[in-house]
């Protein structure tokens, strides 16, 4: 196996941190840009007024997808040192999260197309359009529950547990990660049973620890990098 110099390790950690920051920033911007559809009941009209905005939101979501895969690819070689199966499991569950993000993008873009047809003067059956658009919006809502909530909980739990056992980052940080992961997973289950809304204020509170964790982790990786010295031996 090729030996990697410590400067390369530092660079890898910086890139990982940058991907985490990019993922958070693009996720927030993308969601904000989707507001006209997510927050309005007559979104077919607003959707067409803001169609460029929604497309821009979809582009940011695509960048989010790339950044999320980026974190997994960059961390895998380090996670693998401690436990190859779990490291690979993290990559898999991150990929599934991204697949949901992509399905969500398709739904939103399809709503834009529908809304452009909707304002056509020859169009008579408007109810059918509204129904189809409602279905697509509901699919997007569910992708949000399963991707950035359910799957994020699972994959964050996996890599944070490896962090905890391997001391790749300080233990306090990994504990924050595990806590945040469990909370967002519980939040996703509450959404599944319709107890809380995927876009309500409750889930924002539930998601706070994981959001803080990702930002602190990103800062730590950029400033200090992975701690490769006191890892326990591989299993």
């Amino acid at each position: 196996m090729k030996t990697i110099s410590s400067s390369e390790h530092k660079r890898n950690a910086k890139v990982t941190g940058a991907f985490f920051i990019a993922a958070t920033v693009t996720a927030i911007i993308g969601l904000k840009l989707y507001d006209p559809i997510l927050l309005n009941s007559d979104f077919l009209k607003t959707g067409v007024i803001n169609s460029n905005q929604i497309v821009l939101g979809a582009i940011f979501e695509s960048l989010l997808a790339i950044s999320a895969v980026g974190t997994a690819i960059m961390m895998f070689p380090y996670l693998k040192r401690f436990n190859e199966s779990w490291g690979l499991g993290y990559v898999c569950f991150r990929l599934i999260e991204v697949i949901f993000i992509l399905i969500g993008i398709l739904s939103m873009i399809s709503i834009v197309t529908l809304s452009q047809k909707y304002i056509s003067p020859t169009q008579s059956d408007l109810t059918a359009f509204q129904n189809a658009a409602n279905m697509l919006k509901t699919i997007h809502d569910w992708t949000f529950v399963f991707g950035p909530h359910f799957m994020l909980g699972i994959n964050t739990f996996i890599y944070s547990t490896i962090f905890y056992k391997s001391n790749l980052v300080p233990k306090k940080l990994s504990i924050l990660g595990i806590t945040g992961a469990v909370m967002i997973f519980i939040g996703a289950m509450l959404e599944l049973f319709g107890i809380i809304s995927p876009f309500g204020s409750e889930i924002i509170v539930i998601a706070l620890p994981i959001a803080f964790y990702e930002m602190i982790l990103a800062g730590w990786l950029i400033a200090k990098g992975f701690n490769l010295n006191n890892q326990e031996p591989a299993r």
């Binding site: 898999c92 990929l95 129904n131 699919i139 569910w142 031996p233």
Partner: protein
């Protein structure tokens, strides 16, 4: 050869530590996960109501569908789990095929999750009393579920088991007869899928269920074997 692959990617000192026990952990975990993939069998009954043409108009409970969805989520997660748990061992036999198994398990899980989302969208439409306006969309979503089920939980398992069957046959990690059931079961299920796809047989025909029997038998007995016996001693389990 094996030994040199073994040591790569690991920090030294691990090789001497009781290799059989860590292998036993791998076989036990993957065996249990294989058995866990059978928990979704009740969905056949749980999804009965949502297949009724007027489900969206009725006032029936959505709980059976949600429970079915959760069981499917468990199956998808356990499915990926089986592949990543076996990966470190199977990799030594054929890294490409072992990664292929992980990838096809991810694709399978993605389609399962997509199917769950379609049904949950019907549930949302039902709960918001969308009524007759949503009749067509809800029927569309259930149809999409049925079709993605064919790809995700019928086509992908055939490919998974074919890959796994070959890897296990070549590596002799389990009795070769057991591996052969997977190698035979994969193509049989694949043939059944194409019969459904080209509409020779209905998707809910008992005859189609029959084509899934060898694959189910393979996965179930593999789960039992791995839990009860663990891997058979083979060149791969010799942790030099």
């Amino acid at each position: 050869m094996n030994a040199s692959i073994n040591t790569t990617g690991f920090i030294g000192g691990s090789i001497e530590r009781a290799p059989m026990s860590s292998l036993r952990k791998t076989s036990l975990t993957s065996g249990l996960l294989y058995l866990l993939t059978f928990v979704s069998i009740p969905t056949l009954a749980l999804y009965g109501p949502i297949h009724a043409p007027d489900y969206i108009l009725g006032s029936g409970s959505d709980t059976p569908v949600i429970i079915g969805n959760i069981l499917e989520l468990v199956v998808a997660l356990a499915g990926i789990g089986t592949a990543v748990a076996l990966y470190p061992v199977l990799r030594k036999q054929n890294e490409g095929m072992a990664l292929g198994l992980v990838s096809s398990r991810v694709l399978e899980a993605a389609t399962i999750f997509a199917g769950v989302m379609f049904l949950l969208t019907v549930v949302t439409l039902h709960q918001t009393s969308a009524g007759a306006d949503a009749l067509v969309t809800s029927r569309t979503l259930v149809t999409m579920y049925d079709r993605i089920f064919l790809i995700g939980q019928s086509l992908m398992p055939a490919i998974n088991d074919l890959l796994l069957g070959f890897l296990l046959y070549q590596s002799r990690l389990v009795p070769r007869g057991l591996a052969l059931i997977g190698i035979i079961g994969g193509p049989v299920l694949l043939a059944g899928d194409f019969f459904v796809l080209f509409d020779f047989i209905g998707q809910r025909d008992p005859l189609i269920a029959l084509t899934a029997v060898p694959v189910a038998l393979f996965e179930f007995s593999l789960g039992v074997y791995l839990v009860a016996r663990g891997f058979k001693p083979s060149p791969l389990t010799q942790n030099k």
